[in-house]
């Protein structure tokens, strides 16, 4: 897959990529998995967009002590899938890539909603799905779903 090779070369050359791992799409599902510094993400996103990639999804994973952000980019016709993983929780907030991919707007709001991870200069970072309650981040490992989270009365502000 010569096209894949050229992509590998570009990925190595980009400054922020700290470690690039090639994976096979048959048993892992993605071609390249690279770990990256949070501040390098917008630059990577812009570079991938020029290559014709689109943002499949953006999510976070909580491993108890640390949390990491996972970005997945793929192409339309010949799907090389690039997965960018960057450490999130103890580090400072990751910059938002809404400027490059508007699709990330809601996905970042959902990650903020479920994990409490902030995103720098996001146009309107507020909860996407859940009610406005401090500290309610259900997908965190330290979250315990008590009875008070099921079916209590909620006043949403009327417009």
């Amino acid at each position: 897959m010569s096209q894949n090779e050229s992509l590998a070369v570009i990925l190595e050359s980009s400054p922020q990529v700290t470690q690039l791992r090639r994976a096979s799409r048959e048993n892992d599902g993605f071609d390249f998995s690279l770990s990256i510094e949070p501040k390098g993400i917008p630059e990577l996103a812009r570079m991938l967009k020029d290559q014709g990639f689109f943002l499949e999804y953006l999510t976070a994973v909580d491993y108890g002590q640390t949390m990491e952000l996972v970005y997945s980019f793929s192409k339309w016709i010949e799907p090389d899938r690039v997965q960018a993983v960057c450490p999130a929780w103890p580090m400072e907030a990751a910059p938002s890539i809404c400027g490059v991919f508007p699709a990330a707007n809601w996905q970042e709001r959902e990650v903020f909603d479920m994990f409490g991870l902030e995103f720098k200069d996001h146009p309107d970072l507020k909860r996407l799905l859940l009610i406005q309650e401090e500290g309610l981040h259900p997908l965190r490992k330290d979250f315990v779903a008590g009875p008070q989270h099921s079916g209590d009365v909620v006043e949403t502000e009327m417009v």
């Binding site: 499949e56 999804y57 508007p102």
Partner: protein, 374 residues
Amino acid sequence: MLRKTLTDDTFYLNMGPQHPSTHGVLRLLLRLDGERIVECEPVLGYSHRGHEHMAQTRSYLRFMPNPCRMDYLAGLMYNHAYCLAVERACGIEAPPRAQFIRVICAELNRISSHLLWFGAYLLDLGGFTPFLYAFDDREDVLSILGEITGSRLTYSYCRFGGVARDLTPKFIELTKAFIPKLRVRLKDYDTLVSKNVIFINRTKDVGVITKEQARDYSVTGPNLRACGVPHDQRRCEPYSVYPEIDFEVITADGANGEGDCYDRYLVRMQEMEESLRIVEQALQRLPEGPIRAKGVAQEPAPPPGAYQYCYESARGMLGIYLVSDGSRVPVRMKWRTPSFSNLSILPILLPGTLVADTVAILGSLDLVIPEIDR
């Protein structure tokens, strides 16, 4: 941003959460200037049940009924995708007969999902009758699938490494009878709706999505194919037995890569015919053999690592990102559902259109709201 005080003479209209044409519990906060829409902000979360939280606290087997409840129109596809993802993580391979059965049922499920979309879309545009015809056809598909899965919407029919029950001769006979019947019906729908001048005026050049917008908002599925991009997961990243089945990816011949409501409608109608062809070929090529792989633990525990699986559901690309630490309960299971990004394009499609167009555009995107809120 939207809640600033009203200086000009626009007024807010809450379309939803209870509204006849939002297909599920979605609230569109519209700012209207008379009939014209100035701004639109979808408000989500009304049917959020925390599927991903449940995935983190339950073993793979106990999470089996959940995927069908995420997208209740394409329940079997979600179940199929979930089993394929776990099989890829554990390195299991379903026997060929089971793979063919799964593909037949998934394509029948795609037809029933498109039929319901067709009926509901016409109902939104004011045509009451096609809704009943579409449901009559869909009833046949549901009774066919009910023959072997036992239920009509929430199937949980696939198991890790195979399927729960083998095809019965009655199932094959019913499917063979259903295929020509639906082809005749699709021709009737063609004359009744596709060529109807009122329908064409209501949907032509309404809610136009360009290729760049589709890429920016990562729109997938029939909405993307209506912009002329032949992106179909079954063809770009073939999985299961799709490489052996010959079918084409339907794209509307949208003028220079722009898909409007009418193109999206045409793409889905032709996709139904394509699915019929797939079911026909799969039925002919159905091999004999076992329907469950041997030696598969009921409670799988995939080796530690991160796995990703992409599947073509009725509404677009369904991605499952699985992080496992070797135990029977996943660390994280992210469901990338197509309607989430398909809806995110709405706020840029609506400004400038009329209220009646909102319903047309929303219907043409074929959204299922529980899939967005998860």
